[in-house]
Subunit: 154 residues, 2 copies
């Protein structure tokens, strides 16, 4: 059962990774780089919009964040008041609203992502190129296979 041993080693590592992410103030430190008083879910909205590269409807933001709609609505209020996003009526459907980043909002999201990216660069910069490539490949595959398996359970 050498298989079993491999997996029993991986599982605690994944749990540890989750702990490191959630509790080590990685997020808080990167948010400090943003230089604006945005809370965590608000920042997630900004990142979602920046990664989309285009204005999104409220429901679409909620879907991409995998949260319920009202949660997005609530934080859009704060973001709009801070002039980080704009809400405009969707010309194709008067019921819907398109949310777009202001320049300030786009800059904030960019600074956050840049900080996190620079941080990961530091973590693996002493790795060999082979190891970096292999890690990227295997991690991508793992996440994809995991997601497939989850969807199969439904």
């Amino acid at each position: 059962m050498s298989e079993g041993l491999d997996l029993e080693a991986v599982l605690p590592q994944l749990m540890r990774l989750g702990t490191v992410f959630n509790r080590s103030q990685l997020v808080e430190r990167a948010m400090a780089q943003v230089g604006l008083p945005v809370d965590r879910p608000g920042l997630t909205v900004l990142i979602t919009l920046r990664m989309a590269g285009q204005p999104l409807r409220v429901g679409e933001i909620a879907a991409r964040m995998q949260v319920a709609g009202p949660h997005v609505t609530r934080h859009l209020h704060d973001l709009e008041r801070a002039d980080l996003v704009r809400r405009v009526v969707d010309p194709d459907d008067q019921r819907a609203r398109l949310v777009e980043l202001t320049d300030a909002g786009d800059g904030a999201a960019g600074r956050y992502l840049g900080a996190v990216l620079g941080w990961f660069t530091g973590v693996v910069e002493e790795w060999s190129e082979e190891d970096r490539d292999a890690f990227g490949r295997l991690l991508g595959r793992f996440v994809a296979d995991l997601q497939t398996r989850i969807e199969e359970l439904d």
Copy 2:
């Protein structure tokens, strides 16, 4: 900048992994295998005790879970009422309490871990042995380097 490209690919994967973990009801599904009405933090207490392999003090459980003390105290109440843990006075220090799993508690934690482990087995069982080994090695290294870097920031 081939480095940059590698990292920019890894970062979204990690974010995606976090999302999959937190929102895909992986935890809820595994908890269903437990067959007992234990909530999530309560289950974390049971897992912590099982992985320790010995009774732990309340403060030690909180440290391993990386949460504040009162959080553990609160859930120990429910767990004790459900007969999943026992609290006994530490013979070495009358102030402290040792928390130990009952047979039912140990079984519950075991069933949960077995479900998750079996699930991961399914995800990577079609991988080559080389890929599995490499993934385990690189993931472990990544988490360790990440933690080191975080500690350096303090």
